[in-house]
């Protein structure tokens, strides 16, 4: 009780100084909490974007690169426009003249046998595996010819996911929730039925019961799917068997094939092992995790994430170190002012460690209060950021695998169409329990560090020297 009484009275005596130290620590740890909250929000947003591509629970995806297009081979889908005529070639099979193209293709990835899924699922540390077809439905109206210097025709496209809903619990489809209508049933495996992303449906005035044309085939919409905010979901989901029957890749049907395998490891620690085993099983395949694809997400979300990690983190560290330094200096000053008092206590028979415990106790109280205030500052900071932060965007660019050229006697121009998806992200800055605990721990460490520097002086204090000081 004497300890508490002495501590309380001393903090009250130097209330202004104690409050100053608490506020300094609060500012430092509050900034750390805010930066952590923003960083956590950024990671969550990026995770949502990537999960929209691969689905919740997917640790790894297995794909295969298609053969690259070169002028000397006939791979891929080529459209050549000349003043004398248009030619559309699908892996060497060509047709000429004006036409409307509705091509469902898997040109972004090469095909993998469906049996690959079972082979991967048998590997150690693999909890489950599933597969599907990630496709693009490309629609274009090709005129008979294009005048010299004229613009090449543009295509419209949407993403199609061939869903293995009877076997797989992984992939983009499993992440969504059916908001209207119904989800796929076992009997739909060979039917021309589709689920459509709710945002895509709204943008194209689609609803349950209407039709969406895929590869020139009308599919009846049986349900609308809502995906997590910020994700990059497919626009249309159709049964895998129908996708295999309708889609082509490099001129070949995709019967019995998939082009994406989704893998869930037993635990996060097993991901590298599983990744290595799949690489051994399928040397030509590309095995990626959502985090390794983070570099593909561009836009202001990516920029803000980088800024938070670099500038934000260093700013927080700098402010925190400054708070520690100020706390240390003020504590040393307080100890210096009390040298005579501590010398007297030592003369009364107080051991150094008892005097030190008193000083450390005062520092601990200041640190805990500073930490709790810092948590409050952190909450206020993250709330302010959520309130005033501008909307961010995440952009993912995907190749379609198509190649357009316009050839003339004097030369040619060409481009490879890509699909750019830009998703608005509402900024969030959630304060996590980890951040709160870290805030309090940092503040306490800072205060104890300051107290220990003062305590070092006390430990070396000789009573005779202390008492000789002029009050």
């Amino acid at each position: 009780m004497f300890f508490v009484t002495y501590l309380r009275r001393e903090l009250r005596r130097r209330m202004r100084q104690s409050v100053f130290i608490m506020l300094g620590l609060a500012l430092g740890v509050g900034l750390v909490v805010t930066v952590m909250a923003v960083s956590s929000g950024m990671q969550q947003a990026q995770g949502n974007v990537l999960q929209g591509l691969y689905g919740i629970g997917t640790d790894l995806t297995v794909t295969k690169s298609p053969p690259p297009f070169t002028a000397s081979n006939n791979n891929g889908f080529r459209i050549t426009m000349t003043p004398t005529g248009a030619q559309v070639c699908d892996n060497g099979k060509c047709s000429s003249g004006a036409q409307t193209i509705d091509n469902l293709n898997g040109l972004s990835y090469g095909p993998l046998p469906y049996s690959t899924i079972a082979e991967i699922a048998k590997l150690g540390k693999v909890q489950t595996a599933g597969g599907g077809l990630v496709l693009t439905d490309q629609q274009m109206t090709v005129p008979a010819s294009v005048a010299t210097g004229g613009a090449l025709p543009t295509s419209t496209s949407f993403y199609v996911d061939g869903v293995d809903f009877t076997h797989s619990t992984l992939g983009p489809y499993t992440d969504g929730k059916v908001s209207t209508g119904r989800s796929f049933a076992a009997g739909d495996a060979s039917s021309n039925v589709a689920e459509v992303d709710a945002n895509y449906a709204a943008a194209h005035s689609l609803e349950v019961g209407s039709t969406v044309t895929v590869a020139k085939i009308p599919f009846t919409i049986i349900g609308l799917i809502t995906q997590p905010q910020g994700s990059q979901p497919p626009d249309v989901y159709i049964p895998l068997a129908r996708a295999q029957a309708l889609a082509t890749s490099q001129g070949k049907k995709l019967t019995g094939e998939v082009n994406s395998v989704y893998v869930a490891a037993v635990s996060a620690a097993d991901i590298p092992t599983v990744q290595a085993e799949i690489n051994k099983l399928l040397p030509s395949a590309t095995v990626t995790s959502p985090s390794s694809l983070a570099n593909e997400v561009t836009g202001s979300l990516a920029n803000t994430t980088r800024l938070t990690k670099s500038l934000g983190r260093w700013l927080a560290i700098l402010v925190l170190l400054t708070a520690f330094a100020v706390a240390s200096l003020l504590t040393i000053a307080a100890v210096t002012r009390r040298v005579r008092e501590f010398g007297t206590l030592k003369a009364l028979g107080w051991r150094s460690r008892r005097v030190i415990a008193q000083v450390m106790g005062e520092s601990l109280v200041v640190g805990v209060i500073g930490g709790l205030l810092g948590v409050g500052v952190g909450f206020a900071g993250s709330a302010a950021i959520e309130a005033v932060a501008p909307k961010l965007t995440a952009t993912v660019v995907t190749a379609t695998g198509q190649h357009l050229t316009s050839a003339t006697p004097s030369g040619s121009t060409s481009y490879d169409p890509t699909i750019t998806r830009t998703v608005p992200i509402t900024m969030s800055a959630p304060v996590t329990l980890d951040a709160i605990l870290l805030a309090v721990v940092l503040a306490v460490i800072g205060a104890l560090l300051a107290g220990s520097i003062g305590s070092w002086r006390i430990a070396r204090l000789r009573p005779a020297d202390a008492l000789a000081r002029v009050a």
């Binding site: 003369a347 028979g349 008492l467």
Partner: protein, 237 residues
């Protein structure tokens, strides 16, 4: 009983060595009141610190009841300080944030005296210095004389063998000075304390049994009336 044998205390001042106490040999009997006078800077306080275990001699030995203080380990010396010595300082040295009772209590903290016994002894000590009605007052609410009384209560609450007073009346007016000296004399007589008092005030020094003068680190005894009859204490205010 104190036995000082060839005690020297030197300090380094740059390249110079300053002897605050030079080759002092002295015996102080149990229950004796020794006053040490002298001008500032001649080693009075250094001698007091050596006698109170607050400092160690550069050479020589200081024994208290056969125990050589100069050779004790630090934790042993701290224990002796907590049990055997009571200190009174010129500037009172009370903890400004603690009340009179809490300041007195601070002396019992290292002795491990628990709650009810602690409160009883604190109350008794303040009663003996006439401040039972000022227990809850903090030093800023007490006069100089009252603060010094609290300091004396703090010194005697642990029932020490030795009371060491460094200019206890230095900051007090004449009337209060006399009150404090009377109080010290009363406690000396009642409790059989060994009192070693530093002062530059002759009127205070003359109350002691033995009076010495420190000059340039050397102690000379001016008067020794230890064998004379102990007189009754003068009445306190």
């Amino acid at each position: 009983m104190y036995e000082l044998s060839h005690v020297t205390r030197n300090y380094q001042k740059g390249r110079r060595t300053v002897s605050a106490v030079r080759d002092l040999t002295l015996t102080i009997e149990d229950g004796e009141w020794l006053a040490v006078q002298g001008r500032t800077g001649h080693g009075k306080s250094t001698l007091l610190h050596l006698l109170g275990g607050l400092d160690r001699p550069s050479s020589g030995s200081i024994s208290l009841n056969g125990r050589d203080l100069s050779n004790l380990k630090e934790n042993q010396l701290v224990r002796v300080r907590s049990e055997s010595f009571g200190y009174v300082f010129q500037t009172f040295n009370l903890v400004p944030t603690l009340s009179a009772a809490e300041n007195v209590e601070a002396a019992l903290v290292p002795m491990g005296v628990r709650g009810p016994e602690r409160r009883r002894r604190v109350a008794a000590a303040l009663e003996s210095v006439g401040l039972a009605d000022r227990m809850r007052h903090v030093p800023t609410e007490l006069s100089g004389g009252q603060q010094q009384r609290v300091a004396i209560a703090r010194a005697i609450v642990k029932e020490p063998k030795v009371l060491l007073a460094d200019e206890p009346t230095g900051n007090l007016d004449e009337e209060t000075r006399d009150d404090i000296v009377n109080l010290l004399e009363k406690l000396w007589l009642e409790r059989g304390l060994t009192v070693i008092l530093i002062t530059h005030d002759s009127s205070v020094a003359k109350r002691a049994q033995r009076v010495g003068v420190m000059k340039n680190g050397n102690l000379s005894i001016l008067r020794d009336s230890r064998r004379a009859k102990r007189r009754e204490p003068e009445p306190t205010a």
